[in-house]
């Protein structure tokens, strides 16, 4: 976005090269820090519109840096922050619970960084144009859309997505991942998302064996598309009730094996979100509180299952600025 100031930090010169080129292409003014001393000086220069920082040590573990980044968010609430990390998901997820400024984490795998993801993330944050799975796919891809209305039709909805994956030539294991993601997203749209007029969950405590037919103003949507590299599945609901705390606590509870893993408190098992997260490469949640939620799941079709398991996952929660008061994500 023209005129915006972005500060990028990564000690890896290859990553800096990729990022400088990609981010400059957005029309923004980009400055790179080559080490933590340099980063410290540039942060002291004042407010940036966007910080894109390597979240590998020392920034991740050094308490003075953790404090500094927290303090920066307090001082400059309108500055957005995106971190990129080589650490496995299991290592950074627990940190999200104690560091609310950690909302956008880009996975850094063998390639230094994916320029597409840098540009999309930066533009979403700077323009506050958050919604739409097309942003993550090549131009021209038109998603298929299915209305989510009735729990008794769930198998039909899943069959639509599975059949699409089969048409793409996905193998049985990939189709199973696609079905898993679709199944949990549809269940979420029917049972967990709807709220009553006082904001309370409407159907969350019902057993998933109890049929639910959503009213016209509760109907959700499943969208899916593929651009050859990624298959994208998104669930949209008209409630915007999902919060960062809910997502992080559900994911973290499932990371630790034990009796707490399966929830007895809700009508489901409380592991749906985790199962979705385990099945994908990039997980994006867009929330306009009280109005709309969009959960986007991207599965990388280029990877073998082995590479998929090894690869880190990107995780993003974007919250509309108008609602956060303090300046958004």
């Amino acid at each position: 976005m023209r005129g915006k100031r972005i500060l990028f930090f990564d000690p890896d010169p290859r990553a800096r090269r990729v990022a400088e080129r990609a981010l400059a292409a957005t029309g923004s003014i980009v400055k790179s820090a080559i080490d933590v001393e340099d980063l410290g000086k540039l942060l002291d220069e004042g407010a940036w519109d966007l910080l894109m920082l390597s979240f590998d040590p020392p920034l991740r573990d050094d308490p003075s840096w953790v404090e500094r980044l927290s303090g920066y968010e307090t001082r400059f609430p309108r500055t957005k922050m995106v971190l990129h990390a080589t650490e496995p998901t299991e290592d950074y997820l627990p940190l999200l619970a104690t560091r609310p400024w950690l909302r956008n984490i880009i996975a850094k795998n063998e390639d230094p960084l994916e320029p597409d993801e840098l540009i999309i993330t930066a533009e979403k944050l700077l323009r506050q144009d958050l919604f739409g799975l097309q942003k993550y796919l090549l131009w021209g891809v038109e998603p298929y859309r299915v209305e989510i209305r009735d729990s008794r039709l769930k198998q039909d909805y899943i069959a639509e997505v599975a059949s699409y994956a089969q048409t793409l030539g996905c193998n049985e294991r990939m189709v199973e991942l696609v079905e898993t993601v679709a199944d949990e997203l549809i269940t979420n749209a029917i049972y967990n998302a709807p709220r009553s007029s006082d904001g309370e969950p409407k159907y969350a405590r019902l057993s998933r064996r109890e049929p639910v037919e959503l009213a016209d103003d509760e109907v959700g949507q499943l969208a899916f598309a593929c651009d050859g590299d990624y298959i994208a599945i998104a669930q949209i609901d008209p409630f915007g009730a999902l919060t960062q705390d809910t997502v992080v606590s559900y994911l973290n509870r499932c990371l630790v094996k034990g009796p707490e893993q399966i929830s007895e408190a809700s009508g489901g098992a409380g592991i749906g979100l985790y199962r979705v997260f385990q099945s994908l490469s990039k997980f994006i949640i867009n929330v306009d509180p009280g109005k709309r939620t969009e959960v986007i799941c991207l599965l990388d079709l280029r990877l073998t299952m082995k590479r998929f398991r090894q690869a880190a996952k990107s995780f993003h929660i974007f919250i509309a600025d108008s609602a956060s008061g303090a300046g958004g994500p």
């Binding site: 198998q155 039909d156 899943i158 069959a159 639509e160 599975a162 059949s163 193998n171 294991r173 199973e176 079905e179 898993t180 199944d183 949990e184 269940t187 057993s207 998933r208 064996r209 094996k257 034990g258 009796p259 893993q261 399966i262 489901g268 098992a269 409380g270 592991i271 749906g272 199962r275 385990q278 073998t304 299952m305 082995k306 398991r309 090894q310």
Partner: protein
């Protein structure tokens, strides 16, 4: 609209020395696992080759059912496909007091790209130091490798070593 794939089915066969429970399809909110719980005291062998997927509610229903099998009843799981193995590795107590005797691993050949689900005995892997035994490719004869992180996929083998 595309036709849904076959849903859950459960079949019980009574043998002289054990009951054989065969499950197939998707274990979800529509899966009725009651027949498993209603069996007597004979050893139960659960054949899971046909299970394609288990959703989050299915995990909960499954664990409720497994916990209701008396602890004194011998319970074993055979021909477990990758979706079941994944659950065993991810969810603590997924097998209850039962033991997993045999399972499929997704094998791939780097030479000729052949992909198969190969059946393995848990005991053989245990004797092999918690690793899969060598598997020659049925097409080109070269050694195949598991299309997953072997250490992660075989977590359940080491957990019970």
């Amino acid at each position: 609209m595309a036709a849904p794939r076959p849903s859950f089915a459960i079949d019980i066969a009574h043998h002289a020395d054990h009951d054989l429970v065969t499950m197939s399809g998707v274990v979800d909110e529509n899966a009725d696992l009651a027949p498993l719980v209603q069996l007597g005291t004979k050893p139960i062998r659960v054949h899971l080759r046909g299970v394609r997927r288990i959703n989050s509610f299915g995990v909960r229903a499954w664990m409720d059912a497994i916990r209701r099998v008396p602890i004194t009843t011998q319970l074993s799981f055979v021909h477990c496909p990758p979706p079941v193995v994944d659950q065993c590795n991810m969810v603590q107590g997924f097998l209850g007091h039962g033991k997993l005797d045999s399972f499929y691993a997704p094998m791939t050949c780097a030479e000729c790209d052949e992909q198969i689900d190969q059946l393995f005995e848990t005991e053989v892997c245990r004797a092999n130091g918690g690793k899969l035994p060598a598997t020659p490719c049925p097409r080109c004869g070269r050694p195949m490798e598991v299309d997953d992180l072997e250490e992660q996929y075989l977590l359940f083998v080491r957990d019970t070593m």
